[in-house]
Amino acid sequence: MSMRRVAVIGTGITEFGELWDSSFRKLGIGAGLAAVEDARISADLIDAMYVGNMSAGRFIRQEHVAALIADYSGLARDHIPATRVEAAGASGGLALRQGFLAVASGLHDIVVVGGAEKMTDVSDMESSMIQSSADDQEWETELGATFASLHALIATRHMHNYGTTREQLADVAVKNHSHGSLNPKAQFRRKIDRNVVLKSPIVASPLRMFDCAPSSDGAAAVVLCPLDAARKYAETPVEITGSGQASDTLALHNRKDICTMGATKVAAERAFKMAELAQKDVDVAEVHDNFTISEILAVEDLGFFPKGQGGKATEEGRTSFEGDVAVNTSGGLKARGDPIGATGVAQAVEIVTQLRGKADKRQVKDADVGLTQNVGGTGATVVVHIFRRA
């Protein structure tokens, strides 16, 4: 493959949370401006923009959001191509991949990748209905399945097949809240213990409220350019060394094995192959913990732990700061927050921050290689990226 090598030269992220005084456009521009300032580039240099967004049409009744963000960023003047990318929860990661491909191909030099979602202008009920639109409407949702209930089916079966315990699920949330307490941008910055999870209201058994990521408002952005040019703009450029994407059946009931996210395995294989790296090389990973069970599947299917051992590995602290691989140092979707379209880009922001050594209290020592895993629906789209300090 004759592809150009691609680097991240700037990152920007808003606070995540219930941000009632922030509109969609204010969030998108906030993250984008921060990323452009961090990259120390002038707006004239920007060739293109990709925006990850799942459902602005239903959350704020606004489609055409890439043009909106380009306009309010002052980029309409230059008529840059601005493209919205949608793959439910994987929208942000997929926008990053589109930006990566555009730079790698030589088509564009400087690309801004953003992700944004404004979820709290609708009720909690409406928000969960919108999230379930990632599932098969005809054959899951209309029969009574919610987004959480499909993950509960995975959890029930994982517990049955592998002896994963209710406590081990709780340990994912406990760890991610602990990590989130060190992240000033996180939605939830308070540590919790197992009892908080185990005594929280049931959402879909065995999953409880503290097993689920919240509804959030927020945005994140990164600036990409060819690696050759990166040192002009950044002291510590971070290279995207691998990018993998995979699909699977839309409905959970059509999967070969509901306890394995096949698309995660394949996307990871593709990304590791491109990066010429292996699981043991990864120091820090941001994975898609929209539910606690999702992180357990992720650490197994990414190849960090054998199938069925994800719960045990979490319980033993092997996914924490001092563990084999530090997972979700930002707090993950659970504690940092999950503004859907922003999430995949926020994961990249966290990994780049770690590899630059700028993660402050949550810094992973000597972090050299990082990974992101971003999931759409119950696993019908997965995007994996691998990053390395350049």
Binding site: M125, S128, M129, S132, D136, Q137, E138, W139, E140, E142, L143, G144, A145, T146, F147, A148, S149, L150, A152, L153, I154, A155, T156, R157, H160, P201, I202, V203, A204, S205, P206, L207, M209, T249, A251, L252, H253, N254, I258
Partner: protein, 143 residues
Amino acid sequence: MATAPRFWRENPSRYNLVGFKCNSCGKYNFPPRIICPSCRRKSVGKMEPVKLKGTGVIFSFTEVHEGMDEQNVQKPYVVAMVEMDEGAKITGQVIDCDACDLAIGTKVRTTLRKLSEEGSAGVIHYGYKFIPICGESTVSPDK
């Protein structure tokens, strides 16, 4: 909320569990598919509508307490993934039971029930739900 035609066009499968059998590989597809995901082009013209028997076992299940349109469900309710005798897996509600009496492997059969309604004077949508089989044998007597 779905419109009436969106429900109506799926009625053969919603009411009578009509799926498609691929006569290239013999696999049952439910919900219906125009193309067999295993055989792809080889399955064109070989997909035959077939009614499933309606019996199967619970592959996984959950009791749902939050997140659905409250107008259309009484909470909590049970959602299960059921492995039908023909091999296809189907997602649906399990009714006439307590979640605590269910387990992976519990035998169930389909029954036609109300799924939802479009407001108090609107169209009512029907479709399959599952009920546990208590003391019934799923093996036909002549075998």
